[in-house]
């Protein structure tokens, strides 16, 4: 960031910008922040063989008016503006509106970031907002940037949902996150190609497709996206964190009815604590996610990129758990070979499972031991049976298996399977009343009886 500022300083804030046309040309121009769009047209039009009045400039979903200055546009280095030649009909209309006195103010004059206040706020909140709050609330989006590897300020951009071209003007501003995150909400006019895009045979205009860029690194072109973190907000209402009670600049607002707030540090702590106990929940629509820490209903985080706020290592762990959970939910099995754990989806009636794409181990789906013909052996006998079988297949492989067998034995001695889902469970002290910690199972069972927990268990051997 510091480096960027220094470079910016040396170049006296000149922005190096690309201008794209709908005829496939791209010009590279240098713009001064204090210039207005009229200056830009005067610079660009001659290079296209046009008069400045024949050109309109489109950026982030809006046609920019002549009076808009470059500073107001939220342009970064190497941003892309779109220069489109006006069609004759449009030119005449423009000319005539200019003649009318005080014609209705040019509505799409300001760039999206200026008109778009705050998807953060509910509509009634937007009306009762002070000027000072307005400044703080102005179009602040947060993204997880893959390049910067952190939480960054983000910029909202628009393109045509059909041709993905940026010479696109929206018919209305987005007013809430759903307008931006859900498809097919806002239509617009696309001029990226010579012939305007249409959505259907009736000739309806195409839909806008919103996306986000990181505002903290130099744009890497039109494919440089960042994942929007819609729950992260500027704390304009100075709400203290639910956990540490500090009032932080940037907070995460949970999607529950009470809109509980945590600071980013405490959100990370919350995720770590749940991850350590494997207590994320597989949600049918959102994926592997968490609810509001206060236990509110309907509060699951929908955009799972929020978990990218964890460290890389923690996020990888999150992904591994999520994948395993998905495989188990889908009726699959995890390869029982120590150090493998590959998720395998198999036909419901297939008992012989091969760890394809993983370690290649062939095992029985029912007893999770090496594949065998006939009934599964009762526990205890299996280890030796498996060993002799492995030995006859490949001596090297068997030697390795003996080493790993050590951990198998440890697991067998110190764990019992959950009577319902068979997850090996270790009892690390405490009472005999076990609750399966596998998300979605939660079976309450007795360590002694290895069946469901009952009042009798509590009376007879609550504590062994």
């Amino acid at each position: 960031m510091l480096e960027l500022l220094q470079i910016g300083g040396k170049l006296t804030n000149t922005l190096s910008i690309y201008v794209k046309t709908n005829t496939g040309r791209t010009l590279s121009v240098n713009l001064e922040p204090q210039w207005d769009i009229k200056n830009v047209k005067e610079l660009v039009a001659p290079q296209l063989g046009l008069h400045p009045d024949e050109v309109k400039i489109i950026f982030a979903g809006k046609e920019l008016s002549n009076a808009t200055t470059i500073e107001q546009c939220d342009l970064g280095q190497q941003s892309v503006l779109h220069a489109i030649r006006l069609r004759p009909a449009e030119r005449e209309r423009k000319a005539s509106t200019l003649l009318e006195e005080e014609s209705p103010p040019e509505e799409p004059s300001k760039p999206l970031n200026e008109t778009l206040l705050d998807l953060q706020l509910e509509s009634e909140e937007r009306l009762n907002i002070t000027a000072e709050e307005r400044v703080r609330a102005k179009a602040h989006f947060f993204v997880h940037c893959g390049q910067c590897q952190k939480l960054c300020r983000g910029k909202l951009r628009v393109r045509c949902a059909l041709c993905k071209g940026g010479a696109f003007t929206v018919h209305r501003d987005p007013e809430c996150w759903d307008d931006v995150l859900r498809e097919r909400r806002i239509r617009g006019h696309c001029e990226s190609l010579e012939i305007a895009c249409v959505d259907n045979e009736a000739g309806d205009p195409p839909f806008a497709e919103f996306y986000f860029k990181c505002a903290e690194h130099v744009s890497g072109g039109e494919k440089d996206f960042a994942a929007p973190l819609n729950l992260i907000k500027n704390n304009i209402k100075d709400v203290p964190c639910l956990a540490c009670t500090d009032v932080s600049e940037t907070v995460l607002v949970f999607p529950c009815a009470s809109q509980h707030v945590t600071c980013i540090d405490c959100f990370r702590d919350y995720c770590r604590s749940r991850l350590g106990e494997r207590q994320f929940m597989p949600h049918p629509d959102f994926g592997y996610t968490l609810p509001c820490p206060a236990g509110c209903e309907h509060s699951f985080i929908e955009e799972i990129h929020h978990f990218k706020l964890l460290s890389r290592e923690e996020y990888e762990r999150y992904q591994r758990f999520a994948t395993e959970e998905f495989v188990l939910q889908a009726g699959g099995v995890l390869c029982p070979q120590p150090g493998c754990g590959m998720g395998l989806l198999v036909e419901p009636d297939c008992r012989k499972v091969t760890c394809q794409g993983g370690c290649g181990y062939v095992f029985c789906r029912n007893c999770l031991q090496g594949y065998h013909i006939g009934e599964c052996l009762p526990e205890g006998d299996t280890a030796s049976a498996q060993n002799s079988c492995e030995y006859s297949v490949d001596p090297n492989r068997a030697a390795e298996a003996r080493w790993e067998e050590a951990s198998n034995v440890t697991i067998k001695v110190s764990t019992k399977p959950c009577p319902k889902c068979r997850t090996p469970t270790e009892r690390d002290g405490g009472c005999m009343h076990m609750v399966c910690t596998r998300a979605g199972c939660g079976f309450e069972w007795c360590w002694v009886c290895q069946t469901e927990w009952t009042r009798d268990c509590m009376g007879a051997h609550w504590f062994g």
Binding site: C241, L242, A243, C244, T245, D246, H260, C263, D265, C266, D269, Y270, R272, S273, R274, P293, A294, G295, G429, G430, C431, H433, M434, V435, E444, M458, G459, W462, F463, G464
Partner: protein, 154 residues
């Protein structure tokens, strides 16, 4: 102050507010807290007009570094353990907000109030039916006990 973890900052704040505006009948043993921020002793007075009027009790709160995302460990300590159907004679308390119904939106103060109201609503002083077995065999940490909550009336 800045070198504190979020969990310590939260505890520090809760402590300040509990010292400044304690709920009726609740006092923090500040000396115990100054020695160790992760273990608090809190004195609770039996409310007037209840079975525990005139009695003094002491609670021990232990916090780990995941507080408030994980619940504190709370037990009665000292010579006077209240005789109550949800309080074992070793000081362990059967109260759902101390385990599965814990939420980081709760606080030390909320726990104290909840325990005070649990005492106040009691109509007969007696130990839990399984007190003897439990006390003889249980783990030192009440959070290692999986409680079965049955009776919300007391």
């Amino acid at each position: 102050m800045s070198s504190m973890s979020p969990s310590e900052r939260r505890l520090q704040k809760e402590l300040m507010s509990l010292i400044k505006e304690p709920p009726q009948g609740v006092t923090v043993d500040t000396e115990s807290v100054h020695q160790n921020l992760s273990e608090w002793k809190i004195n609770i007075k039996g409310s007037e007009g209840t079975l525990y009027e005139g009695e003094d009790f002491q609670l021990l709160f232990k916090f780990n570094n995941k507080y408030p995302f994980e619940s504190p460990e709370v037990t009665f300590i000292g010579t006077n353990i209240p005789v109550h159907p949800h309080v074992y004679s070793n000081g362990h308390i059967c109260l759902s907000i101390l385990t599965e119904d814990w939420s980081p939106a709760l606080s030390v103060q909320a726990v104290c109030l909840s325990i005070a109201s649990m005492l106040s609503s009691c109509r007969e002083k007696k130990r839990p039916p399984d007190n003897t077995l439990y006390v003889k065999t249980c783990n030192k940490n009440p959070k290692k006990t999986k409680w079965w909550y049955h009776d919300d009336s007391v």
